[in-house]
Amino acid sequence: MQPPTVATEYFVVLSAVLFIMGVLGVLVRRNAIMIFMSVELMLNAANLALVAFARQWGNAGGQLTVFFVITIAAAEVAVGLALIVAIFRTKKSIDIDELNAMQG
């Protein structure tokens, strides 16, 4: 008996929805933590699309890539959180709009 199959289109649509949510989060949120989470959301949307296509084509390369992405995302989390802590220590705030020293 065949396992219930879900069409790849659904995964892709879900992935796109998640990615757009992530983009919007990065664009509109001012809390650094939230922006960070939105970035993670985008990464995972991309992961979802990768495994979906890997499943469709029966190619393990996509899944392999996902592992790399997760690993690097973990490292990125460590660095990113450290940055946020450092920002908080200096600014006593994690409002991203206050970090406008680059304003021309």
Binding site: I96, D97, G104
Partner: protein, 837 residues
């Protein structure tokens, strides 16, 4: 011969190495070691020259050209066809010069060890002396005119350095010395101009500077135009060009034999004979400079400012004879230019007479010898001018012996006078001034003796008793110079007079008669001034405390004197125009004369027996010496007459060793048969000069008030004053050359250079123009156009930047959005082809 001759570079290198050792290590070495190094270097060079002489004699007098290692291609410019190799020539002429230079040089080195003892620059003196030898040997061994010129300039440099050796003497003496050195150097530059012109002309004409190419062998048996030269000429015609195949002299012979050769100088052409005359006349200018002839002789008397060994070696025996050597070496050219030869003769005899006259009135012991040297060089130059190349070389050799002897003797006298002066003062003044006995550099430092001149003959007198060896050797040199039979000077002077006689009576040349007469008078002058010197210096009674206390010099100084005296006595045997039996009789005469001298002369007896006679026993030796001179002269004349007039003694086999020897390297050398009447006349002139001087300067050598006898007599006063003033040569040159020159130089410097060129031209043209141009470039161009342009550009950039700065909001979302927009844009571009399908 090849093998032995290949040692010739060593002859030059050894003195050079000696100079280098003393230059770099001299300061760590003792005086004895320095002197030993220098003397050994000279002596080894002499030994090698002697070995080569034996070698060349054993191999048929064949000339050899040697390429020294590492130096064979010296000047080689193929594009200009210039190939001047550094080659050395070993032939009988160069060997003769080598032997004289190194032989006399070695003796003078030895002498200088004693003479320069205690000098503050002892090592440097020997460096210069050895360097001089090296350059002199380059001069005489070179196989081309350029090497000769290198040596010529090198010896000029060493002469300059040594004349001015005591440039730091106190009380203005140093200035005099260095001025004398500069005078010698500058006057010689005038002569060098002529020599250089001659060399340029030679190169232009012949395309080479070599005397002979290495493959050319000079066989000149009897007639110079021999088959060997003809073969060379034919070989040259077969080759290409020919000029590069043959040396200068063979080329000259070829063109002269051919006849009508024209030399092209680009814009104009000259016959070959004219070119040779030009070359030889230019060369003559060089000769008058180096060999101190009219008009360039004025430097030589001043050159006596140098230490006495220098005067003996450079300014009497070797360097000044370079001109005679040069004419002898280029005998082919001079033989082809009768006009030049006549001018050479006239300059020679004029110099001989003029210098002999000036020597009559000098007070300085070395000045007399200096003018005597000029006079004798005039004899040599006259001889080579008359075509007597062997006679000139013969007189060069014998003159080197007896003039070096006389100079060294005068040095011994000066040395003794300085000692005697110091000695007398050390006893007279008990203050105990502790000046060094031998320090020449400090000799003018003695506070009390500024007025004392150890070279002034008026301060001397009676030195014969104090200095027996110096006296005897000096006497021998004097008699040789005066041409007294049978000393060396008699034979060589007689040969020159014989040449003049032949040129006049056999060839009918005007200058021959002229030379005969003038040289006879000059020979009379020679005898007179030399005997005057003997009278003033050695005979009579001491005129100063210094002369009374003068000691004999050390063995290092007297041994060279004795060796040179022996050479002076026997040197004439080099070229005796007599047969074997005549020479045997001569030898017996010599021995008899020796014993006789031993008996007669207290000085000689003192030297050989070593028993000093009490000085006070005889206040004067005048009667004895008058007797000696008269008796010896009579004996020599009688025995000489016997040799000359008994035919069996003058056998057909001639013993003119030097002529036979030089024939192998000097073309147109001819021997001479002794002319008995001429010899007797010449001898009589010499004896008459001596007797006249003896008569004039007796009983006292000086008149009242330290005047010369001749000056005290009204009839000869004018002549003596003229002679004493050196015929006003220096004053004339000062008036007509120096002053106009200085005025011209001052005018050029003050008026032309400073006032016109600097003040006017520079200020108006250069400075003002420069200022205006600089103002224009600075104000309108630089500050106006360039600066403003760049400022405007900068301002525009600033404005654009201010506007662009607004892009940077500083908000993260702006950057993120920009990035997103970019990503979308890139994706759109990538996907556009897909969408189109």
């Amino acid at each position: 011969m090849e093998v032995i001759a290949s040692f010739v570079p060593l002859v030059v290198i050894l003195p050079f190495v000696g100079a280098l050792i003393n230059l770099f290590l001299g300061r760590y070495m003792s005086e004895k070691l320095i002197g030993a190094v220098a003397t050994t270097a000279a002596g080894l060079a002499f030994a090698i020259a002697a070995v080569m002489t034996i070698g060349i004699t054993a191999h048929g007098y064949e000339a050899t050209v040697v390429n020294p290692p590492l130096l064979d291609s010296w000047l080689y410019i193929p594009s200009a066809a210039i190939d001047i190799p550094w080659q050395m020539r070993v032939d009988t002429l160069s060997l003769t010069m080598m032997l004289v230079v190194t032989g006399v040089g070695t003796l003078i080195h030895l002498y200088a060890i004693g003479y320069m003892h205690g000098d503050s620059r002892f090592a440097r003196f020997f460096v210069y002396l050895n360097l001089f030898l090296a350059f002199m040997l380059i001069l005489v061994t070179g196989n081309n005119f350029l090497m000769m010129f290198v040596g010529w300039e090198g010896v000029g440099l060493c002469s300059f350095l040594l004349i001015g050796f005591w440039f730091d003497k106190k009380h203005g003496e140093g200035w005099k010395n260095s001025n004398a050195a500069r005078k010698a150097f500058i006057v010689n530059r005038v002569g060098d101009f002529g020599l250089l012109m001659a060399i340029f002309l030679i190169f232009w004409t012949f395309g080479t500077l070599d005397y002979y190419k290495p493959n050319e062998v000079l066989h000149l048996e009897g007639e110079p135009h021999s088959a060997a030269v003809d073969t060379l000429i034919r070989a040259g015609e077969g080759g290409h060009g020919g000029s590069s195949q043959k040396g200068v002299f063979a080329q000259t012979e070829a063109w002269l034999a051919e006849g009508g050769h024209i030399v092209s100088f680009g814009v104009f052409e000259l016959p070959f004979e004219t070119v040779i005359t030009l070359i030889t006349l230019f060369m003559l200018i060089g000769v008058t400079g180096k060999s101190a002839q009219i008009p360039l002789f004025v430097w030589l008397p001043d050159a006596m400012a140098g230490p006495t060994p220098v005067s003996a070696l450079i300014h009497a025996a070797t360097m000044v004879t370079a001109g005679v050597y040069l004419i002898t070496r280029t005998s082919v050219l001079y033989h082809a230019a009768p006009l030049s030869s006549a001018i050479v003769t006239i300059i020679g005899i004029a110099t001989a007479l003029m210098a002999g006259f000036i020597a009559l009135g000098q007070w300085d012991i070395k000045k007399v010898l200096a003018y005597s040297t000029v006079s004798q060089l005039g004899f040599m130059v006259a001889a080579v001018g008359l075509g007597g190349y062997a006679a000139g070389m013969f007189h060069l050799i014998t003159h080197a012996f007896f003039k070096a002897l006389l100079f060294l003797g005068s040095g011994s006298v000066i040395h003794a006078m300085e000692h005697g002066h110091h000695h007398a003062h050390a006893h007279g003044h008990a203050e105990g001034d502790s000046h060094g006995h031998d320090d020449h550099g400090e000799q003018a430092d003695h506070g009390h003796d500024e007025a004392f001149d150890p070279q002034d003959m008026r301060n001397m007198g009676g030195l014969a008793r104090r200095m027996p060896i110096t006296f005897v050797t000096y006497l021998i040199g004097t008699l040789a110079l005066a041409g007294i039979f049978p000393l060396a000077g008699f034979w060589s002077k007689d040969e020159i007079l014989g040449k003049a006689f032949n040129a006049g009576f056999n060839d009918g040349k005007i200058e021959g008669f002229l030379a005969l007469g003038v040289l006879m008078v000059a020979a009379g002058f020679t005898a007179f001034y030399m005997w005057r010197q003997i009278k003033l210096v050695f005979l009579g009674v001491p005129r100063t405390e210094a002369a009374a206390a003068a000691p004999e010099s050390s063995p290092s100084m007297t041994i060279p004197l004795l060796v040179l005296a022996a050479l002076t006595i026997f040197g004439g045997a080099l070229n005796v125009p007599l047969g074997v039996s005549g020479v045997l009789v001569l030898g017996v005469l010599f021995i008899m004369a020796g014993f006789w001298l031993l008996w007669a002369l207290p000085g000689v007896r003192l030297f050989f027996i070593g028993r000093a006679e009490p000085v006070t026993s005889q206040p004067t030796v005048n009667p004895i010496f008058r007797l000696i001179v008269l008796a010896s002269s009579a004996a020599f004349i009688l025995s000489g007459a016997a040799i000359m007039f008994v035919p069996s003694l003058g056998a057909s086999y001639q013993l003119e060793v030097l002529v036979l020897w030089l024939e192998h390297s000097v073309p147109y050398t001819k021997g001479l048969t002794l002319n008995p009447i001429l010899a007797i006349v010449a001898l009589s002139v010499g004896i008459a000069g001596i007797l006249l001087a003896q008569r004039v300067y007796s009983p006292s050598a000086l008149a009242e008030g330290n005047q010369d006898i001749l000056e005290a007599q009204p009839s000869t006063r004018a002549a003596f004053r003229l002679s004493n003033a050196k015929l006003y040569w220096d004053e004339t040159y000062g008036r007509f050359i120096e002053q106009p020159y200085n005025r011209a130089a001052a005018w050029l410097a003050n008026k032309l250079d400073w006032e016109f060129w600097h003040d006017r031209f520079h200020h108006t043209v250069f400075r003002d123009f420069y200022k205006r141009a600089a103002d224009f470039i600075a104000t309108p161009v630089d500050r106006g156009a360039i600066d403003q342009g760049f400022l405007r550009i900068a301002r525009g950039v600033a404005q654009i930047a201010a506007r662009l700065r607004g892009v940077q909001t500083g908000y993260v979302r702006t950057y993120v959005f920009t990035m997103l927009f970019g990503v979308v844009l890139v994706m759109l571009i990538l996907l556009l082809p897909l969408l189109r399908q």
